[in-house]
Amino acid sequence: MRTGRGAGLRAVAPLLLVALAVAVAFVAIAAGPGRPASLDERTRAVGATLRCPVCANLSVAEAPSGLAGDMRARIRAELAAGHSPDQVRAGFVAVYGESILLDPPRHGPEGLIWLVPVVALVGGGATGLRWLRRGRTPAAVPPC
């Protein structure tokens, strides 16, 4: 004879499956192609990846400076002319260098900085493990 708990689960299982299917469908619709992004949205998206050269660490999308406004206008014009977001970014990188990107690619000499935390983590972890293991080793007892 089955327990009451097992029978309850069996009764709820189809409902759970339906709920899961509905949730998956919602996610698929939300992540699907949907309506194409407007020119304003695409301009904002590209601007959000570029650093305003005359502001304190603000993106071109949010910086209030006049130059950021001019950059937004250029981004918009280039996107409207059919350039891809990568082509627009490449145009700014060609002139200002990769420092114009808010999230610069992790290669070249600047990329070494990303290695520091990794090296520190691995090196520190290894040293810590060795220290812990040494602590566990029973101390040699001098013969009586």
Binding site: P53, V54, S65, G66, L67, D70, M71, R74, V95, Y96
Partner: protein, 177 residues
């Protein structure tokens, strides 16, 4: 041995502290920014409208072009004005064109700033900062030198001086286009 190490560490800390404390003050005392001879690269393929009419094609070459990005609100721009005037006075009849390019400023106010200070070189109207963005300008003052072949060959990020610009312009003026 431990004592020696401790002394070395203290000395190191003292040197680093001194650099951090006095470095900025020393660099502020510098009269001008360095002039950088850049690897020659074609100037942007665009024209720069001038306020008194006409346009300046940046890449066409034929003359040496000095683009001085400035603003009326910029104290360092006022500081370098006398040096630019001296450069203009010496080289204006020798195949060198000095052009003031207002940056993040009202064009009329910027032009007045040049005239009031006694400068009579052309002032451009860089709408939308097209030239500034194409040349990678990040602030003022900034001076870009374009050779007779339409290539960007030198740049001063900060206050430019006559002593920096004169030798470069002399050599570029003599070079064949």
């Amino acid at each position: 041995m431990t004592r020696r190490r401790g002394g070395f560490a203290a000395l190191l800390v003292a040197v680093v502290s001194a650099v951090l404390l006095f470095g900025p003050a020393l660099s502020q005392g510098q009269a001008s920014a360095p002039l950088t001879r850049t690897r020659p690269a074609p100037a942007p393929d665009q024209t720069l409208p001038l306020r008194d009419g006409g346009v300046l094609p940046l890449r066409s070459g034929g003359q040496v072009v000095v683009l001085n990005f400035f603003a009326s609100w910029c104290a360092e721009c006022a500081q370098e004005h006398a040096d630019l005037a001296a450069v203009w006075s010496r080289f204006r009849d020798g195949g060198v064109l000095l052009v003031g390019v207002p940056f993040q400023d009202d064009g009329a106010r910027a032009a007045r700033f040049v005239r009031d200070a006694g400068g009579d070189w052309p002032v451009a109207d860089d709408r939308g900062a097209r030239a500034a963005l194409a040349l990678g300008v990040t602030g003022v003052p900034e001076t870009v030198v374009i050779d007779r072949r339409g290539r960007v060959v030198a740049r001063v990020i900060g206050t430019a001086t006559y002593d920096q610009l004169a030798p470069v312009l002399t050599s570029l003026r003599g070079a064949s286009p």
